[in-house]
């Protein structure tokens, strides 16, 4: 500290300088101008708070039921009705003292179930879209950045062998395993050294280029897009044991194609940008260029499609639960509250209206926020406001 005297003081002073408008402040200023997006954000934050408090408040293992109620008419009570204090224990009474949103056909508190369902919807939305965006960024990025690189015959062999070994790990005998692994290693070594020197004869075949990385990934995207995704999800969910985690993963695995296409298109254009060449010219590594230079530039459209995707995932989960393929009872989700409620549409309309409106509002708020985000993050669209 002492040895570099005056210069040091200069730089610490500089560190304390008031920052100019940071990106976050700029973002906030833009957001405030965009009413609809702001409304979307507010609802989104409210929803988030509700979901989190809901998770904290509804921690019991089983629903609190009023054993004195026998007939359906008594169980289905409209919103704001009071619980039967005579037959309930003190800790069985809802926290608010009333059934804010009524009770369902089993006499369960709909408000509590909605809170619990909010958490499910939130996690399904975020985890599914998180998986989708992650896959999308990795695959889209690979095909956008390394698109021209050829895939060689030897690489395909290696991939097939690795899959064989991994999937049949326990079934194969030690001898076959050893043979397969040594072939894989030999091929990898061959690939490493065959770049520069020419190999003659049959070995040359191994080095032939089959197709490009880009072709492989866009092919995969196109194949995935061919399946009507809701039915794909239905099929997979029907085969797998019903659980909330399987649903998240399945929704995520079947909805990454949009993000992948976005990222690929962005990367194709970003790769040719001068600042990428400039960064490479100054010795920045490929990985750093992809993740520190290109991803932040490509992230805006992905973020927008992700917010809209969250809405889509919540809808998909609700749809699955409505059809009975979703999260199994006793877990409450907005979809299965809605689906259970439809049997009592005329006796207890709140059972369908409440989750229906909730889904509508949340999905709408995500869409509004997503569109606002697009305008804010894209400086060219920003000018129009």
């Amino acid at each position: 500290m002492q040895d570099s005297g005056s210069e040091h003081t200069l730089s610490t002073e500089a560190l304390d300088l008031p920052a100019r408008q940071t990106r976050l402040q700029e973002f906030w200023a833009q957001l405030r101008k965009n009413r609809l997006a702001l409304i979307g954000l507010v609802i989104f934050v409210l929803f988030f708070i509700v979901a989190v408090t809901g998770m904290v408040l509804t921690t019991g293992t089983s629903p609190q039921l009023d054993s004195s109620l026998v007939r359906l008419q008594e169980k289905l009570r409209p919103p704001l009705s009071r619980p039967n204090l005579k037959s309930l224990q003190a800790d069985e009474v809802p926290v608010l003292g009333i059934y804010l949103l009524g009770t369902d056909e089993l006499g369960r508190d709909v408000f509590a179930r909605m809170l619990q369902g909010a958490w499910v919807s939130l996690t399904v939305g975020f985890v599914a879209v998180g998986i989708a965006v992650l896959i999308g960024i990795i695959l889209g990025g690979l095909s956008g950045y390394y698109g021209h690189s050829p895939v060689r015959v030897a690489q395909v062999f290696i991939a097939v062998l690795v899959v064989l070994v991994v999937t049949n790990w326990s079934r194969l005998s030690f001898k076959t395993l050893a043979v397969l692994i040594s072939i894989t290693v030999a091929l990898a070594v061959f690939l490493l050294f065959s770049r520069k020197k020419e190999f003659g004869g049959p070995l040359f075949l191994l080095n032939t280029q089959l197709f490009s990385v880009d072709m492989l990934i866009t092919g995969l995207i196109d194949i995935m897009l061919c399946f009507p995704s809701f039915f794909l999800i239905l099929t997979v969910v029907a085969l797998l044991p019903a659980s909330i985690y399987n649903i998240m993963i399945v929704i995520g695995l079947t909805s990454w194609m949009g993000a992948a296409r976005f990222v690929r298109a962005e990367f194709l254009s970003l790769r040719e940008q001068d600042f990428v060449t400039a960064a490479r010219a100054l010795g920045v590594s490929d990985w750093r260029i992809i993740f520190r230079h290109m991803v932040p530039n490509a992230i805006a459209p992905v973020l927008v499609s992700a917010t809209i995707g969250i809405a889509g995932a919540i809808l998909t989960e609700a749809g699955l639960s409505f059809l009975g393929f979703g999260v199994p009872p006793p877990h409450a989700t907005w979809g299965n509250i809605l689906s259970d409620g439809k049997n009592y549409l005329f006796d207890a309309p709140w059972l369908t209206i409440i989750p229906g409106v909730a889904i509508l509002v949340v999905v709408l708020s995500f869409n509004l926020f997503g569109e606002g985000l697009r305008d804010i993050l894209n400086p060219k669209l920003r000018e129009r406001h």
Partner: protein, 331 residues
Amino acid sequence: MTPDPLLIVKDLKVYFDTDQGMAKAVDGVSFRVGQGETVCLVGESGCGKTVSALSILGLLPQPPAQIAGGKVFFKGRDLLELEQKDLREVRGREISMVFQEPMTSLNPVFTIGHQIEEVITTHEGVDQIESRQRIIRLLNDVGIASPEERMQDYPHNLSGGQRQRVMIAMALACSPELIIADEPTTALDVTIQAQILNLFKELQEDRGMAILQITHDLSVVAGVADRIYVMYAGIMVEEGSVWQIFREPCHPYTMGLLESLPGRRAKGQDLATIPGAVPDPANKPPGCPFHPRCRYVQESCRVQFPEMCDFSDRHLARCPIMYAKRKVQSA
């Protein structure tokens, strides 16, 4: 007497595999840059200057491009033979590059301080305070006022000239021995151009690095260069000192370039131009590539690829016709 050459490019050939066939963008280019020298590579748009520069640093994407031959020695090592990892060490640390378009050469989503810091931390393990001090000093050196505040700015807050200064600061960050400046002033207006060229000159006096200036504008070259190489359609057509090139150009193409400079003609006269256009690199004429536009063209030019002829002390031009003429004149 002459310093040891830092960079020797020998017969570099870069071809592009295009739909129209093999585009020979760079077809046998040789030049050398000595320690602390400023060497200029001059030529019309599309003659392969950028491609030559990018291939020195291995920056060309290598399916469309292919290095068809040649050697690039930098301090005795052939850069074309280096592994990617070693090449990255060279980039930015020993050779760095400044590009033509300051508007797009900076990443729009990061502050300029961050971008300079990245170059420093990529090559050297320095702590935050030290790298901060260095950034401030660098920005100061390239003539940016109040660097402490400016380093918080995003590229869109800066003018073109300021951005180019930032690019130069990034290139200087690890004190490279050679800076390749690919038309660093083309996108700027004339006063800023002069400032940037002066900046290069001052920095060179302070730090003693070599500069390879690439430009299409001979008037830019005059004040700064130690040596000039003139390129045409992927080949070197003439090389010599500033004095030699400007006083007695030997290649008809260089003569044409000089005549087309504004200010060379009497007032009121039309500017001279070279008739015709640069040949398509995928479809070059046989013989001398310049012959369709040459006013001294002879039969042999259409069939015979010309040799480099030694006109005087290290002044070479690829034109046997002119060589024969000069011989006759001086005899």
